[in-house]
Symmetry: C2
Subunit: 317 residues, 2 copies
């Protein structure tokens, strides 16, 4: 097999399942599959399961390990530059070097690893919403808010693994509740799905404004809020404006720091689509008047596959 | 002359004078000198003067142009990756490629260029406060607030020249006056020398607190404020705490973005020394509780020479 015909493997290790994809080096996804994440006994079986599953699929597809250029792996926690993981709470890992271990289990093919949010950002740059760009910032609006910074096609992981921790930028100075990180007023507290729902509950409790959201009471979700806002509900719209204001402010600050070509917005909340992007963009422009010539804001495209794409892209350096 | 004995030249083009330094490739400064910046006729004589002065000094020192590895140049405005400068207000330049022009004037030795604040940051990494590190963020607290981001020994200039524009991160949400950039609540409005003096004037006008600063009235300077704060003046201390709070908040956000090893604080205001650093650090820690293991804050060391050091370092790639 010619070097250019070799394949690469992308692995996205999650708390429930491990997603695995086999890719051409041009980013074409050939097949993808999942294995359950066995977290018992400090997650010691996770990599064994991954290696066994890869061997099985390759055999089935009649591909030799020697035809694999390497594997990349996204890990849900901080990863040091040499692949060392001090602790990964979600998997039970402690004091391990998963990339070294996996490589040993797969005839020493090269294995690289990185934090899952950073790796997903690399995937969106390669074949997703940021395709065609070399410098992007990805913001994932899910239960929490994750982020990844890609400059010159490389992840900025940071010297202490804090690169792209956009969810924990302090942005809302008048917040009073604490974030999981110990801070107060983090981006995650207002722009995550959890944060959006909480903001809606606060407004309902604090104002008399009639709203379709009131039927949901304390069970209101971010999706309810975004749907109602799209339909023109006044209270819901005002919540989304607040979210957009703080997120736009945060993106403006990031633009003044690393100045990417594009901000790629992903995660469950981003399913609200262009409606949400337009509101974020309005405030982003407002908080960065210094220049019109700056990064654009758009939607992620790879959904839950961003991680395997980015992990495979890690192999290419 | 062996390759390793070759020299490099660092040029820092300012609005009043151009600073030039001749360096060993290990960062030893051999000599430095200045030429006045002739801004007339769209700054067309500036590079000619620089080239003539370099030739003159080299002749005097009996060094041939062929012994020069290259020259780097810091420019007070945005510089595109290929060296193109659309407009540089301070020098009168418009639609030029100064690095190309200077190279042509100097027997085609390689010339590289960058924005002066970014280049100064590179200098501080090479031989200044950030020496020994590869990832630093420099913040220059002068009449304005400038910045530069160095990751993996390279400047993050940004795809639109906005990389490291730390002075224009929106940070003070309750500000009402406008910044020069058109924004409201920029870092520059509270942490520049101008901003610190303004904050002191506001406090004196708004409070009855007795203060040694009152003797200066509207002529109060940032230095007056910092000196008085060090001496324990209550009003001055409260101004410096406000400055430190917003600056610490901004640095915490930058740490959550690019996670450098060190923040290097320079510029006239930084002459207040460790006293100021301690106050900034207190708030920096407060606004980034997610981890204790993160970039430190310290003082710049090269003063006005940071620009020529960084420019010379550009040559080494």
């Amino acid at each position: 097999m010619h070097e250019s015909e070799k394949k690469c493997i992308g692995i996205d290790v999650g708390g429930t399942s491990v997603k695995i994809g086999l890719f051409e080096t041009d980013g074409t996804l050939l097949f993808k599959w999942e294995v359950p994440t066995r977290k018992e006994e400090g997650g010691r079986y996770i990599l064994e399961d991954v290696a066994a599953s890869i061997r099985e699929v390759l055999t089935e597809k009649e591909i030799h390990l020697s035809d694999i250029l390497g594997a990349g792996m996204g890990i849900p926690g901080p990863v040091l530059p040499d692949g060392y993981v001090e602790v990964c709470v979600n998997l039970g890992w402690r004091d391990v070097n998963p990339q070294k271990e996996l490589s040993a289990m797969l005839d020493n093919i090269p294995v690289k690893s990185g934090n899952d949010a950073n790796v997903a950002a690399l995937g969106e740059m390669w074949r997703g919403g940021g395709m065609g760009f070399t410098d992007i910032v990805m913001v994932t609006l899910g239960t929490g808010v994750g982020g990844g910074i890609i400059i010159d096609e490389k992840i900025i992981a940071g010297k202490h693994g804090l690169g792209g921790e956009i969810g924990h930028i302090h942005i809302r100075d008048e917040e009073w509740e604490h974030c999981n990180c110990g801070g107060v007023g983090c981006v995650e507290q207002i722009a995550s799905a959890t944060g959006i729902a909480r903001e809606a509950r606060r407004r309902m409790a604090g104002e008399e404004t009639p709203s379709v959201l009131r039927q949901y009471g304390d069970d209101v979700t971010a999706k309810d809020v975004l749907d109602a806002a799209k339909a023109g509900d006044e209270l819901a719209l005002s919540v989304v404006e607040t979210v957009g204001r703080y997120l736009g402010m945060a993106l403006a600050g990031i633009a003044m720091t690393v100045d990417p070509e594009m901000f790629v917005i992903g995660g469950g909340v981003s399913k609200a689509g262009q409606f949400l992007i337009d509101i974020i963009d309005k405030y982003y422009q407002h908080y960065s008047p210094i220049s019109q010539n700056k990064g654009i804001i758009g939607l992620a495209k790879l959904g839950n596959d961003a991680g395997i794409y980015g992990a495979a892209r890690l192999v290419l350096g």
